[in-house]
Every structure is written in C-alpha cells, then in structure tokens.
C-alpha cells in the first residue's frame, strides 16, 4: 500500500536543472515516448535514477511499515476465516516490500542501506501508517479503503517507464485486488451487522476520513511539479486527479451501506470533481515531519526488528560472497 510522492521546492529545482548529455538524453526520452521500458543496465539520467530510488524505496518502506497496524490484529481476528485471510494479507504486504526493495536495488542502493535510512528518518513511508488501528473495524477500513486508495495509485504507476518497478507493481496490483475483496467483505459484514458493529465501523470511518484524503499528498495548488518527472513517466498523475478518482470510486460505496462521512462539504460537482472541506493540511505536514500519533512507535518496532536481529543476519552471511546488484 502506498500513497504518492511529492517533491519539496528545492528537490524540484534540482530535478529540473540538472544537465545531462544531450544526445543520450534525447535517445532516452525518445524511448520513453515510444512506450519502451527502461531496464537496469540502460543509460538513464542521474535524476531519473535518484527519483526512482526515492520513490520505490518509499513504496517498499510503506509496505513493511503498513504491515504493522494490521499485523497487531492477526492474533485478535475473530474466527478462522478472518484470521487466515488477515495473516495471508499482511504476509502479502511484506512480500511486496521484498519485491520492491529488489526493484530499487537494481538502481544501485542496497536493501540494508534503505532500511538504515528508514530508521534514521532520512527516508519516508506513507503517512497513512502513522495512524493507529484502534479496533477491529479499523482493519475493515484499512483493508477496504486504504488498500483501495493504494490500488488507484499503484495501477497508475504500473504504467510508468522503469521495467522492474512496473513488473513488481503489476504483481502487487493483482494481489491487492484480493485484499480489497477481503477488506470489502469485512467492511460489509460490519456495516450490515449488529448496532455495536455498525457503530464501531462508523467511528473507524470517521477517524480514517482525513488520513484518506491526505493519502494522495497535498493539493496540486500547493505541491511542486516537475515536468521532467512527468515526461520521464516517473510520476503519471497529479495528486488531485488520483484523489478524485478514489473519491469517485469509493464514496458511493460507503454511502450505499448507510454510513456517513464526517464532512458536510463533501459532494460531487457537475464537472465530476469532488469538493471537500479543508482536511487540515497542517496536520498532514505535522505528521509527515514526525509528529503523528504512531510515528515513533512504528519506527521503534522496525528498529527492534532490525537491530535485535542483526546477529541472525550476520550469522547467515557468507564472508566469501560479495554483494552483487540484482539485474531485475
């Protein structure tokens, strides 16, 4: 599961101003225009490589950090069916992380380095995972709506230009469509269940509404663009476009079940564009910069996993083997 990538003003400036060999660049851009995929050994602009590493790495981190809020509910899942489905689902997310770290490694950064950057805070993950899963109903909301939002983003990104990332995303999207089914099933069960269950779900939905709007990143008005990243098919759709697509697909499904959303201004305009109340972008900035309800806890768990088990990885390492960048 993953949201979207945004650049700071400074980063956008670097991307837009870096000069490359004009002949090679022209050939590279022509390939992308023809719809060809770029593969690991191919020439690529420095900024293309850098931005892709950053994006795939953040995506990979989001998968493994995203496994944590749901993972804590595996031991509490209420019956065999839900328990087995949830373990399989969270396992898939960790598997997506593994797949994506491999895709990022083809660009020249090791998994170990990426994980260290996650722990030091240098590298980010999707903001949505800094919120707690307080009840079983949160698992239904995450499984249905956070996964639904992630699919919107990932389907779009799977049409990008970098071969290993696209192939990883195609497989991820295939698995995510099953997650969506299990999330939807759980969501519908609660929505059509007893009053206790419906109330639980409504409360969870109220809690997740804002983080879901934040999921796709700041409004296009307030975020930095890079024509180059669009042209190179690193970024394929704007934050607002993706958010709108998500609202269009999911709001009717939520309302249909007799649930409400905590936003009196929410409506679909005649032009097909959804209007919504201010989701408090200051909070978004606060959480993304580390001050969210679960940032510290999430990183602490990852830190435990990485550091407490270093002896395992060291014992498994063969000192005669040298690290080789994987091909795809």
């Amino acid at each position: 599961m993953y949201g979207n990538t945004s650049l700071t003003a400074e980063e956008a400036k670097i991307v837009n101003s870096t000069v490359e060999d004009p002949e090679k660049l022209a050939e590279f851009e022509a390939r992308i225009t023809r719809g060809e995929k770029i593969e690991p050994g191919d020439w690529m602009p420095d900024q293309y490589r850098k931005q892709l590493i950053r994006m795939i790495e953040q995506h990979a981190h989001s998968e493994i950090v995203g496994a944590l809020p749901e993972g804590t509910w595996i031991t509490r899942a209420p019956n065999f069916r839900r328990k087995l489905a949830l373990i399989a689902k969270v396992q898939d997310e960790v598997g997506h992380g593994q797949l994506l770290y491999s895709a990022a490694e083809t660009l020249g950064k090791t998994r170990e380095q990426m994980l260290m950057d996650l722990l030091s805070g240098k590298s980010k993950y999707s903001n949505v995972f800094n919120y707690p899963a307080n009840t079983w109903a949160d698992i239904a909301v995450i499984g249905f709506l956070v996964d639904g939002a992630a699919i919107v983003n990932q389907v779009i990104n799977s049409k990008g230009s970098y071969g290993p990332y696209c192939r990883a995303l195609e497989r991820i999207c295939y698995e995510e469509s099953f997650h969506l089914k299990q999330g939807h099933d759980n969501f519908v069960y609660l929505a059509t269940g007893t009053k206790v269950q419906r109330d639980m779900l409504q409360e969870a939905l109220n809690r997740w509404y804002r983080p879901l709007l934040h999921f796709f990143g700041p409004s296009d008005r307030d975020s930095q663009h890079s024509e180059k990243l669009m042209k190179w098919k690193v970024k394929l759709a704007s934050n607002d476009d993706m958010r709108n697509q998500f609202l269009d697909q999911y709001v009717p499904k939520i309302l249909e079940l007799g649930l409400t959303l905590p936003d009196p201004e929410l409506r679909r305009g005649d032009d097909g564009i959804w209007v919504f109340g201010d989701p408090d972008w200051d909070e978004f900035k606060r959480v993304i910069s580390g001050d969210g309800p679960c940032n510290a806890e999430r990183l602490e768990v990852r830190r435990y996993s990485e550091l407490a088990h270093r002896w395992v990885r060291e014992a498994l390492m063969n000192p005669k083997e040298k690290y080789v960048t994987p091909l795809a």
């Binding site: 031991t75 209420p78 065999f80 328990k83 087995l84 396992q91 598997g95 079983w136 269940g193 014992a315």
Partner: protein, 252 residues
C-alpha cells in the same frame, strides 16, 4: 473404536497447532529479515489450517461444536496443548529452536498417523505431509546455519535449546488412553513418538555443533495435556477472543 481416546488425541493435536500457529503469526511484520517474516507467516497459516481441519474432524465425526467455537470459545482448562507451544515468541533463537523441536515431533506424529485405523486422521496426515516437510526443511536449514554461523549465534542457539528441551519433552506427555490408541491401531503412542523424535533430532543437534542436554536428568514439563497450563495461555486466549467478546451474538 475408543471415541474418547481419539477425541483426546485430536484435541491435543488441534490445540497444539492452533497455539503454535498463533505464536508464529506474531512474527508477521517483525522478523529478522523479510524472508523470515514470510516464512513464519506461511507456517502459521499452515498450522492454523491444520487446527481447523482437526477441529473439523471433531465436529463432523464426533458431534463436537464447530471449529470456530472450539478454537475461540473454550475455557483455558479445556485446552490440551503442551506448554511448549504456549510460551511467548521471545527472541528469534527461541522461536527457531521451538520450531525445530516441535516440527520434527509433528512430522513424525503425522507420518505414524498415515497408517492410523481411524480413516479421517490418516487422510489428513497424508494431506498435510507436503506442508510439514517444508516446515522441517526450514527448521533444519536455519537451525544448522545459525548454530554454525557465528560464536554469538551458536551460544544463543545452545541456550535456547537448553531452555526449550524440557518443554519439548512435554509434547509427549502420556494420555490416559495410550494403551487403547495402540491396541486399536489408531496411534503408536507418545512413548514411541518420543523415541523416534530423539533418534531424529540427536544427530541433527550434533551436526549443528551443539550439545544435546543430558536426557537422564532432563525433566519434562507436563501438565498441558491435562489442562494445567503455563501462565501464558490465558492471556493468549483473551487476546484471541477480544473481538468476538465485544458482541458474542454478532457474526464476524
């Protein structure tokens, strides 16, 4: 056939599988590396699936309650799991040693049961053979690699083995029905299973460069098979039933 004897055997096996599956699932998201997260998740799904299948035999062959009720709504004292599976996951060394000790016993138990005169359990034993083979392969590979990988890892594995072994011997706590199970060809019995298990793991422990704790002084931790559990089972069950207890009348 001795119905009570078969039921007791099924409950022991089902409860072991459920609780070890529950424990192994706790590694999801926090394993020492992503590959191990995935492995423990897979094995826990298999174990929980085995538990479901065993409870289902109790349900269909003996008119016990359905698998969800048996797993999620029984009192602690009614569980027949051994104490080994109840212990918290601890550090990875303990979880891995437990996995090694438990899965070898499990693999041997199922292979004996393939010849059981009770057809449903013989059928299940044949069905899960493939899965258990992978669990044992995983355990053996990591047991050996970690025990020989570094001095630190070796020391940790030896300590974990020393700690876990008396609990592992508790797997073979005899039931009141040993003679009936053997006489009726249902199961070769816990004593025979323990013998086969020791024959199997002793050379593997030696090949990994570890010392097998002295068997003549090792004291098996019994009690689980009679409903006397460690202090860890009740909290585990409370956690497992946390959601259903919010509204027991609801379908989840």
């Amino acid at each position: 056939m001795n119905t009570e004897a078969i039921k007791d055997l099924l409950y022991r096996m089902a409860d072991d599988a459920l609780i070890i599956g529950h424990r192994n699932s706790e590694w999801t998201g926090i394993g020492p590396m992503l590959e191990e997260d995935l492995a423990f998740s897979s094995m826990s799904q298999d174990k929980i699936g085995h538990a479901q299948a065993l409870y289902n035999i109790l349900y269909t062959s003996f008119g016990e309650k359905n698998p969800d009720v048996l797993a999620f709504q029984r009192a602690e004292k009614d569980f027949r799991s051994c104490q080994l599976v109840e212990l918290p996951i601890g550090e990875y060394d303990f979880s891995l040693v437990r996995h090694f000790l438990f899965d070898h016993a499990e693999a041997l138990r199922y292979s004996l049961l393939e010849a059981s005169s009770f057809a449903p359990i013989a059928g299940l034993a044949r069905k899960v053979r493939g899965e258990i083979r992978y669990h044992v392969m995983h355990a053996d590979t990591f047991f050996k690699q970690l025990s020989t990988g570094s001095e630190v890892a070796k020391a940790r594995m030896q300590s974990a083995l020393n700690y876990a072994l008396p609990f592992a011997l508790g797997i073979f706590e005899p039931s009141a029905y040993e003679e009936a199970l053997i006489a009726e060809g249902i199961f070769a019995g816990e004593a025979r299973l323990q013998e086969l298990w020791l024959q199997k793991i002793t050379p593997l422990v030696a090949a990994a460069g570890l010392q097998m704790p002295a068997m003549d002084t090792a004291k098996a931790v019994y009690g689980g098979r009679k409903g006397y559990h460690s202090e860890y089972l009740q909290p585990l069950l409370a956690e497992m039933t946390e959601v259903t207890s919010i509204d027991p009348s609801a379908e989840w």
